[in-house]
Symmetry: C2
Subunit: 359 residues, 2 copies
């Protein structure tokens, strides 16, 4: 099951707003439609929106190339693609994978058209950009499997495992980050029981994580977000694993609203709290979580459900889509390059492949 | 606005399942209908269900008296009323006010029919039982105003006040417990801002508390339960106040699921956490919260909303209606007799009017 797929010149997305009621697809045939699908959360999950945006960038390159014609100077692609990149980046502000994927596509464009030895035609450049987007997707899947291999050993036999939001196949290229780690522990033969926070307001846990767990046959219990602390107190949870939308240089983690509470409650109950995220989620350009822009979404996500009004007219509403968990609450960060432990300022740089000053 | 009213021989209840969409009433004309209204949460909130049950008991006495005839021995009321009491008590297991109210009605029956000087006829006994039920209701309202007077000083000027579930007029005889305290601070002229947890699964915060706050014109923001911790971290909340369904001799508090997490998060952020409850909520017969039976409600409350399925078939569900907050997280308990502080084992006995061994 792929949340995002490129089929010829169509980006095919599972419409995650309709799950688990029905499994329908949205087919985006140009980059504007991809941008809208990211904005309205047809596709969501930090890695998945990065992949969708890369494919959207490719559709943008295709459209631009057709407009310029095959004989034009490939360098003429750059200006229009910068604008397309900017539109795609403007869809959602918090997850870094979106910026990471678009920046990588833009950098690749630059290499392809500016290289002195480059003698590629416009159609050849576009084909290379298609390959780059597909590579981003494939690498994401491979990174998820790597995280699974590193992370599964952190889940004890017989454990109750709490997770928040959806971090499975639907949130990624395939397999999943935090849910991928849970899947890997299960595939290893461990008897585990998953507790899935429903994750208000958009219920990604109830609608998506529960759906993936049922499909996979992993024993699981759906809970409302406000039950997690009490289940910890009752001794039902041995480990908590969540994903991330952005991890800053000091190890602070932006993730779905409610993650911070899970982390604090886990700490109070002496339960390890792990974050699983590909290295593309690590943003060394930002020192701490205080600098992350938190997306505020529309009040109707809180005041209505399936079109039904659940709160009175006239009430104020807060709807931050994410929160920031300070690194001191994070036991370890499971990446595709291994599990990173504190001190994060040092060890995340290593995981992100940055050499220290002393080499 | 009264959630529960006795009009002649009818118990008139606001149908709280339909708020805030529409304000409708259910009219119960016999005790079985009252029992069903408590069970299906037409009426909810610990004090309100106590009042409804007392009125239901009166309807039961009326029905029994008619069956026995005015000339029968009033002592013949006792056996049937014990059965009616038992049915009413069997509706919901956690809130003690229900048992307290029924026990008080049963005790009053005993006094009225067994007293040696008693020469009351059956119709006179039934009339006395009506007065007793009305007294329970009136005393509850008076206790709420008392709590307001004691509690309002605990809310600082300009405070962000977090509350959970509904503890207002709808949950009580009128005015409210925790929401009554908030109301009292507002009526005192304090500039406060209320943050109301929506309180999944049944959304009493979104549907009922938000509705009362809008009606009252108190500035308020509705949040999903998983936002509270993050708002505490951001410094938006200065005090948390909740109600209680049962308070044990050591100060442990059973209240709506999610209360425990609010209490723990408040502690971590150095925010005072108060419980407001009438003295009828204090259950000295139980030593600690571990002994409280927690009602497990049906999974559909979690997996559906307004009839719409929000989770896949086949997923397990937990749905405890309440949790227990250990007394060490409780800053103080606001009662109608004053604010009780630790050590609760000693001070709650005083508040409940029990004299110490030394007198």
């Amino acid at each position: 099951m792929k949340a995002v797929e490129l089929t010829g010149e169509i980006v095919r997305l599972i419409d995650q707003r309709r799950l688990p009621g029905s499994l329908q697809h949205v087919e985006a045939t140009d980059y504007r439609e991809v941008a809208e699908a990211v904005r309205n959360m047809t596709v969501r999950g930090a890695p998945a929106i990065g992949i969708a945006a890369a494919y959207g960038f490719y559709l943008g390159a295709l459209e631009t190339a057709r407009r310029l014609g095959p004989e034009a100077d490939p360098r003429d692609l750059q200006q229009p693609l910068l604008q397309i990149a900017s539109l795609l980046k403007g869809t959602r502000p918090t997850a870094v994978n979106l910026f990471w994927a678009i920046d990588r596509m833009m950098r690749r464009t630059q290499e392809l058209v500016e290289g002195k030895k480059s003698r590629l035609s416009i159609p050849e450049v576009v084909e290379e950009l298609r390959r780059e987007a597909v590579a981003i997707h494939q690498e994401d899947i491979e990174m998820n499997h790597q995280m699974g291999r590193f992370g599964r050993d952190l889940i004890p036999e017989g454990a109750g495992v709490l997770t928040h939001c959806n971090t499975g196949a639907l949130a990624t290229g395939d397999y999943g980050t935090a849910l991928g780690v849970i899947r890997a522990a299960w595939e290893q033969g461990k008897k585990i029981h998953v507790f899935a926070d429903e994750t208000r307001p958009l219920l990604q846990g109830a609608r998506l994580t529960a759906w993936e767990l049922v499909q996979e046959g992993i024993p699981a219990t759906l809970i409302t977000d406000n039950m997690a602390g009490y289940l910890m107190k009752l001794g039902k949870i041995q480990v908590a694993i969540v994903g991330a939308d952005r991890i800053t240089a000091n190890g602070d983690v932006a993730n779905k609203i409610g993650t911070y509470s899970v982390a604090v409650l886990a700490r109070v109950h002496n339960i390890p709290f792990f974050v699983a995220a590909p290295s593309s989620t690590i943003d060394l350009s930002i020192g701490s979580g205080d600098e992350i822009i938190i997306e505020e979404r529309k009040p109707e996500e809180v005041t209505t459900l399936g079109g039904i009004r659940i709160a009175p007219e006239g009430i104020g509403v807060a709807n931050p889509a994410f929160d920031v968990t300070p690194h001191r609450y994070v036991t370890g960060i499971i990446t595709d390059r291994g599990v990173v432990y504190p001190p994060y300022s040092l060890n995340l740089r290593r995981a992100a492949g940055v050499k220290s000053a002393r080499g």
